[in-house]
């Protein structure tokens, strides 16, 4: 039942995913995730660690 991909195959799919994502973003379809501290499905310990490591947004 598993679907198996080589790195090359997966990256090629990824390249096409990226192209589609860019076109979707040009239509205004963008995911803007909330800051780490508001991502309440993460455990408090994980939120604290991510915030400590990467700052309040948790993103570079």
């Amino acid at each position: 039942m598993r679907r198996v991909f080589s790195m090359e195959e997966w990256d090629e799919r990824g390249r096409r995913m990226e192209e589609l994502s860019v076109r979707l973003a040009q239509q205004g379809f963008i995911i803007k995730r909330p800051p780490i501290e508001q991502q309440t499905r993460k455990s408090p310990q994980k939120r604290a660690l991510l915030k400590k490591l990467y700052g309040p947004t948790g993103q570079s």
Binding site: V4, R41, K46, S60
Partner: protein, 189 residues
């Protein structure tokens, strides 16, 4: 002190494969699940900042987990580890609903990912329960658009099966989102 940059999804992919390979050498198989997998399936458009891994069969004893993670250079921990700037959340047995996993052969070892169908249905559920969540809805729409475009391997019959399971019962939401995804695709192709 400046905050270090959050590693990108490709680095998280490499780390997940390295950790998986280290446990495989001890006879344990890991699978990546949750938001970290959505990140892989969305090519980093949905970011999680960490890597969630669980064991396909029984999880190893804590001592073995600690030994393996220490062999990779991690400080002793119980669940959360830091490896080359990437936070690794090493859970127990992964209770998966679908066996249609994705297996990627990477230079760092084989990486197993939760079924895209399961990733999708989980995001759809989180978009409406316990309250509406636009972030999760967009994640679901991204997965759907990539699947409709033929980039993400996804079996819609499996999606329907999962969506109908007790605890989900979200077939109507899946159908509505699929229509939205089809409209999105029609605008860009």
């Amino acid at each position: 002190m400046d905050q270090p940059a959050n590693p990108d999804f490709k680095q998280r992919e490499r780390i997940a494969a390295r950790v998986s390979a280290a446990f495989k050498a001890r006879g344990y198989q890991l699978v990546q699940y949750g938001g970290a997998t959505v990140e892989q399936f969305s090519r980093g458009r949905y970011t999680t900042s960490d890597v969630d891994l669980g064991f396909i069969d029984a999880a190893p004893p804590l001592e073995v987990r600690a030994e393996v993670m220490a062999s990779l250079g991690c400080e002793r921990g119980t669940r959360l580890y830091l490896l080359e700037g990437v936070v690794v959340d090493l859970g127990g047995h992964a209770e998966l609903l679908s066996s249609r996993l994705v297996e990627i052969s990477t230079p760092d070892g084989t990486l197993l990912l939760e079924a895209p169908e399961e990733s999708l249905v989980q995001r759809v559920l989180m978009s409406v329960y316990p309250q509406e969540d636009d972030d999760q809805k967009k994640a679901a729409l991204i997965l759907m658009t990539q699947a409709l475009a033929g980039h993400l391997p996804l079996d819609w019959n499996e999606v329907e099966r999962l969506a109908a399971l007790p605890g989900f019962k979200i077939q109507s939401v899946v159908s509505a989102y699929k229509k939205e995804a089809e409209e999105l695709i029609s605008k860009v192709t």
